[in-house]
Amino acid sequence: MGGGGAGRVHKVVIDEFRNYYSRLPAEQLDVKDFVKREYAMLHFGDQTMVRHLRFDSTSELRRRLVEEAPANVYYSSAYYRDPQADDMNAKGWEGADLIFDIDADHIRTDCKESHDTWACLDCGCRGRGFPPEACPKCGMKKIDTVTWVCEGCLDTAKAEIFKLIDEFMVPDFGVALGEIEICFSGHRGYHLHVLSDSVRGLAGDGRREIADYVRGIGLDPKEHGFRQVPGNGPILGPDMRDGGWRGKIARAIYEFVSGRSQEELRAVVGPVVADTITKSKEKFLQSISDTPPHWGGMRGYSLESLLKIANAAAKEHVCNIDERVTLDVKRLIRQPNSLHGKSALKTAEVSYSDLEHFDPLKDAVAFNSGSIKIYVKEIPRVRIGDCEVGPAKGTEMEVPMAMGLYLICKGAADPRL
């Protein structure tokens, strides 16, 4: 939850946040069953979340946002009978949207090497890129990170949200595009809200099954039709047109075998089997795409090797979600069209049809006029809207308001009068 906290509070940021909310039409704050949601806010310079708020109307919420100009605004994924009750058990839980969170920070991307740094708080060891789980030098786990998002990170997150919708939500879970809302979080990723009545009543354990499903947790190819007829008989297996993970595994194996080098295949099944399959690749791919498929169409490999390929291939089709968000039935989630205190970008709703061309660093910009003088401490190359700055260190510059606020909110710059 960024942007609140004990960092320095700059009046210009609060003023600009207030201006934004005064310009915002109240209806843009509407969410499904608005009055049943709990609201929460985190203010600049404050570490305590103000919770258990309930608003009668979006204009009442807007008024509060103009008055207080909070750093972050959240609403509950849950629907409550009494959202304002301050005892969670007294709220009267009536269901919750199903939420998925995809955060670029949690996904390994090559670009992190160029814009992220980490430092071990215990021994001072430093490095670039995706932070290690424990310090490679002293083994301690207190790692401080300075992370930035670039187009590369955000594209990866977007690809992941497409995967979630196109390969899981629609075909497997039967969710209609009209029942989902996609939001750019305002900083590093995307949220997907599934608003269908059918998922509203799901308990935590059911949501965990859904989270595990998209993450491929517990996936066992043997449960998806792979079997050898006793007595060294033919190998049976899934059809690429099958539903769910059953079909995904079949397609994944096809892709894996057709797209990977012999070396890569060797790493999975060892040289003998890999060489056998590579030699007759066309035949192998043909037999497994037949109707019905022939998984043991040639000699030289066993069911075990197939299962190894299945496991390796399936891994590439899982979706990288933050599972904690999905299985929480009382999550506080960012309010659409509110500002993110760590970026001054807005939490922007995007329709599925616009998603492909959506450019978060441009389309989620909330401040389109004015400029500001700042002192930059240290930044990599940064783009906001059409403006690009950096890398830079210890320098003053005048930049468009959106860029200035972004860098100030990230803690990488201070305003100059």
Partner: protein, 371 residues
């Protein structure tokens, strides 16, 4: 009555909405059932409860010779179970009813099963008859209905990840579908016991002696349901997941937060001391005794919120990749503490406690809260 369901079906499945309607047709209250004319019904009701307590093969039986008694005795048996106020009995009765029904359901034709699911449980289900290479999946069940029940099962084959899922439906064969129906029946019986109506329920006076008899029977089975752990930790009774974490710790490996939490809560709950737990961590490279002690004491409920934490259930451990090499017993439990409890109960022949004098005494309530 639905055309598909006969009176015999109502006797077999007295939980059906149609059975309730059948009883309503008699216009009887529970007190009416205490009249001599219905002594057979009362006897049968008591027998149903008794059998569920005694357990064993055929815990719940069926008498199709007298369908009316069979149907009428079911709500009475439930009333006795709820009036006992014993959670163990509710679970036990629910489990034996579920088992009994599952055996019968498995033999039914698919359309009847679908009808039962729709009319009594409100499930979104239809017959699809999907034929795969060597399987035949006859039922198509709405995802939400599936997810309401299936997480109760712990074998990997019940994970949604391992099911045939398509367009919001889970495809199931007759065996799995019957199992789900039976499990849902069990859940309904258990959930209802928590509702005000069941809690405040007053049994007609004439039935009190029967209740006393049942409570007496329960008393004799006490050792089966009380949470008892021997004094001294029985290392051999620890489940594979905890053993694996302990081995990693001994090897000085750096562990995830969840792994540390799991072993700490587990060991504390089976009676290990804070010092004993700290000793487990002493080989780890970044071990800081002061900090660790604070954390372990917090988890033990000695400091901070005073909540004594219980270890995560199997499902959670599985999600965090901490469920390793599950054995046969694992397949039958949903919580690492239950595994431990069962292994300990299996007797000193297989596992000796590690307590200094090897004494095995009951320690009630050591289990903390994990439900």
């Amino acid at each position: 009555m639905s055309k598909m369901l006969t009176k015999e079906d109502l006797a077999k499945y007295p939980f059906l909405d149609q059975s309730a309607a059948f009883i309503a047709g008699y216009n009887l209250t529970l007190s009416d059932l205490t009249a001599p004319a219905y002594s057979g019904v009362v006897d049968r009701a008591v027998e149903r409860v008794r059998r569920s307590i005694e357990g064993g093969a055929g815990a719940a039986t069926l008498n199709l010779g007298d369908t009316e008694t069979e149907i009428l005795s079911y709500p009475l048996a439930l009333a006795l179970v709820y009036a006992s106020g014993a959670r163990w009995l509710v679970n036990r009765f629910a489990t034996s009813e579920a088992k009994r029904c599952e055996e019968l359901l498995k033999m039914e034709a698919a359309p009847k099963l679908a009808e039962i699911a729709k009319s009594s449980f409100g499930w979104k289900v239809d017959l699809e008859d999907l034929r795969l290479e060597w399987e035949r999946l006859t039922f198509r069940l709405g995802l939400a209905d599936y997810l309401e029940v299936a997480p109760q099962f712990h074998s990997p084959s019940w994970k949604l990840t391992n099911k045939y899922v398509d367009k919001g439906y889970v495809f199931l064969d007759t065996k799995d579908f019957s199992r789900l129906l039976a499990e849902n029946l069990k859940l309904r019986i258990i959930r209802k016991s928590g509702e005000e109506e069941a809690k405040n329920f007053e049994l007609p006076a004439a039935l009190q002696p029967h209740l006393s008899g049942i409570l007496g029977l329960l008393e004799g089975k006490k050792e089966l349901y009380e949470d008892e752990f021997p004094e001294g930790v029985v290392d051999e009774a620890r489940p594979p997941c905890i053993v694996a974490i302990a081995n990693d710790l001994r090897a000085g490996k750096s562990l995830s937060h969840m792994a540390r939490f799991a072993i700490t809560t587990f060991m504390l709950n089976v009676g290990e001391s804070v010092d004993g737990v700290l000793k487990l961590f002493s080989n780890v490279a970044d071990f800081d005794e002061g900090k660790a002690r604070y954390q372990v004491e917090h988890i033990a409920g000695m400091t901070g919120s005073r909540t004594k934490y219980a270890p995560p259930k199997c499902e959670v451990l599985r999600s965090f990749g901490l469920c390793v090499e599950p054995d046969k017993l694992c397949a039958t439990v949903s919580h690492p503490l239950n595994y431990y409890k069962r292994r300990v109960r299996a007797g000193p022949a297989t596992s000796a406690p590690r307590g200094e004098d090897g004494r095995r005494g009951g320690r009630k309530g050591a289990q903390g809260r994990h439900r």
